[in-house]
């Protein structure tokens, strides 16, 4: 019988099927961070349970960490306490822990792939919804709650009903200045913030075939923003090349065995999806959001839609625009901006900083812009230096910070003040996401760079 890539990976991880219930689903790799794991460890202890396979869990501190002066003690006592809890829990159970100051420390969804924890055909979970990132490698990866973190620690399994299957094809090629982030924001704007709820999405078509691994990670990362549990892309030569030689990747004979299996990981030609959508890549332009969920996005040259032209309730739509201080029918280009943030598990990889540099090179940061450039990991940070991007940033008036989630969710001090507008390469524009009262416009690193040098929302195609 013809099956999908998703079926192949899912079905090979089902330990037990429960009648009219979830599957008992085996997890190959478990990533944990300081925010969603402490209560899971408390639960484990309160039941006198143990960590069944500590070698399958990896810990890094990212959500709550400062992005300057990481060599100094963390000032906020609550944050310091969470970081300490992660370190102590990891030590107690023999889990690899990459805390602040460790060269492997960084955003969980950036370092996972960098160290070969992320593998094709694997199942990967983390108490973070953007775990969908790892689907870029042909893994089934998704976010879980803290109760499930405890389940994985103690049993290496969770109880999951199998999601429905959707395939999104994007044919053709992409235009100038159109990045993987734009592809994702375009899809989400078409499907709305809940259009893929209940589904696991396979991305297929020429656009994804041609995309780099970094780009595929950006697209899969944003799957959750249309409600999908995760996204997956069939592994190919680029995937294998990326994984080969990384620290935790299989070596020698194990690599050869794995490759034999990985080459089978694709959707059969006549496999059927519950839902299938196709878009033409040439229709996508650089995107930007204007509202308070990631589905409220538009091509940057377009105007903000009228309430009657969008799906969903008018009252909710108007509440959202009211929060942003925007009106129906207004142009996005030229809107005043105060902050620019490049980073996060969505756009904190080397390719994103290269894109940012391609526009700011030889230009200057606008005076009204406060810019935060936050690499996703120390590997990204090192590459920025090696490739001469840091010099470009410095000459243009930008400073590079240290790795972490930073202003994406503003748990640390990197908060956009109330009433201020940020163009952000992160993943969520919810009310107050980047700080209480902050207003977020999600966009690509190119749009962020163009905006950073002009001080207003700017179409990057005019500067390329």
């Amino acid at each position: 019988m013809s099956t999908t890539l998703f079926d192949k990976v899912w079905d090979s991880h089902v330990v037990r099927k429960i009648k009219d219930g979830p599957d008992v689903f085996f997890i190959d790799r478990h990533l944990i961070h300081e925010v969603t794991s402490p209560v899971a460890f408390l639960g484990l202890k309160s039941r006198n349970n143990t960590v069944i396979y500590p070698e399958r869990t990896f810990a890094t501190a990212d959500h709550n960490t400062p992005t300057i002066n990481q060599h100094l003690p963390v000032e906020d006592p609550l944050s310091a306490n969470q970081l300490k809890a992660l370190e102590e829990n990891s030590a107690e159970w023999g889990i690899s822990h990459w805390g602040l100051g460790d060269e492997k420390n960084g955003i969980v969804h950036v370092v996972g792939p960098e160290y070969g924890i992320t593998l094709p055909g694997a199942t990967i979970v983390c108490g973070d919804s953007h775990t969908s990132t790892h689907g870029a490698f042909g893994a089934i990866a998704f976010g879980i709650g803290t109760s499930e973190v405890e389940m994985v620690l103690t049993s290496q399994c969770i109880m999951q009903p199998k999601p429905k299957k959707m395939r999104i094809n994007i044919t053709g090629g992409l235009g100038k200045g159109v990045t993987p982030k734009d592809v994702a924001l375009f899809i989400i704007s078409k499907l709305t913030t809940s259009g893929a709820t209940g589904y696991f999405v396979e991305y297929a078509g020429d656009v994804f075939k041609q995309m780099s691994m970094e780009g595929r990670m950006t697209v899969c990362n944003l799957s959750i923003e249309m409600g999908a549990r995760g996204g997956i892309i069939a592994p190919d030569g680029k995937t294998f090349e990326y994984v080969n030689g990384r620290l935790f990747a299989p070596k020698g004979e194990a690599w050869d065995t794995a490759m034999t299996y990985w080459k089978t990981l694709k959707t059969d030609e006549d496999a059927v999806f519950d839902k299938e959508l196709t878009f033409d890549g040439s229709e996508i332009e650089p995107m930007i959001t204007y509202g308070t969920n990631p589905g409220m996005g538009t091509g940057i040259s377009q105007n903000i839609p009228n309430a009657e032209d969008v799906e969903g309730g008018v009252a909710t739509y108007k509440k959202s625009l009211n929060y942003m201080g925007f009106s129906e029918g207004e142009a996005m280009i030229g809107k005043h901006v105060d902050y620019v943030f490049i980073g996060s598990c969505t756009n904190g990889r080397i390719e994103d900083f290269r894109a940012f540099a391609s526009i700011v090179k030889g230009r200057k940061k606008a005076d009204n812009i406060t810019a935060w450039l936050v690499p996703g990991s120390h590997i990204v940070e090192a590459k920025i230096k090696e490739e001469g991007l840091l010099d470009i940033f410095h000459k243009a008036g930008f400073v590079l910070r240290e790795p972490g989630c930073s202003a994406c969710l503003a748990m640390n001090d990197d908060k956009v003040p109330a009433g201020k507008v940020a163009v952000s390469t992160s993943n969520r524009n919810f009310e107050g996401r980047q700080g209480p009262g902050s207003k977020t416009l999600l966009a690509s690193p190119l749009v962020a760079a163009a905006t950073a040098v002009t001080g207003v929302v700017t179409d990057p195609r005019t500067l390329l």
């Binding site: 925010v35 639960g43 108490g127 109760s147 913030t193 809940s194 709820t197 969920n293 748990m411 969520r428």
Partner: protein, 198 residues
């Protein structure tokens, strides 16, 4: 942590007719710094409940004393966004045992089921009926019967059935959770793990 059994809940309800309520609104990230599960109810809908100076936003429904009860009635696509279970904890800790909506985000729904908050998905029409009934009388009561999988507007007797899989239903009726189940199949899991290639 196992939780209280859920059988029949009869209560007035708090209406929140807003769509796409995300978990950042339910509990903003800056309140996720605890290492224990307590006190999250104080910060439920923090930025909708309070002004930046911590004064109360009187227009918000949780600050209106005429609305109370153990049932929260939210708009379509409730609980989208972040996987933070803290959002479900905040809902529970505030005193809600059930959230009603016409559509739930996946992870939030799962998190609720895992901690003993029942997500009840109703049709858009029934959701409207609930909002109208609450508008007429804020003390109007809903009855949720998990065994029969029904939700009833007691004032009119209008009723709708809701879906929940048998496994989760049994868990909630008995106050069991998934860890109780998983720890009983340790050997089966170990056998499975020994055959994984990586």
């Amino acid at each position: 942590m196992a939780y209280d059994k859920f059988e029949i809940l009869k209560s007035s309800a708090v209406p929140l007719p807003i769509e796409n309520v995300d978990t950042d609104q339910i509990i903003p990230a800056r309140f996720l710094k605890a290492t224990e599960r307590k006190g999250f109810g104080d910060n439920l809908f923090r930025d909708w409940r309070y002004n930046p100076d911590n004064s109360i936003k009187e227009e918000f429904v949780l600050n209106n004393p005429i609305y109370k009860g153990k049932i929260l009635v939210g708009g379509r696509n409730f609980g989208s966004g972040s996987s933070r279970e803290h959002a479900a904890w905040a809902v529970y800790d505030y005193g809600f045992r059930c959230v009603v909506s016409s559509f739930f985000a996946d992870i939030f729904r799962g998190n609720c089921l895992n901690i003993g908050v029942l997500p009840v998905q109703v049709s858009a029409d029934f959701l409207e009926k609930i909002y109208k009934a609450i508008e007429v009388d804020s003390n109007t009561e809903l009855e949720i019967n998990l065994q029969n999988q029904t939700i009833t507007l007691l004032v009119s007797g209008e009723k709708e059935s809701f879906d929940i899989n048998d496994y989760k239903k049994e868990n909630m009726l008995n106050g069991y959770d998934d860890i109780d189940y998983l720890t009983k199949m340790k050997e089966e899991i170990q056998d499975f793990a020994s055959k994984r290639p990586f």
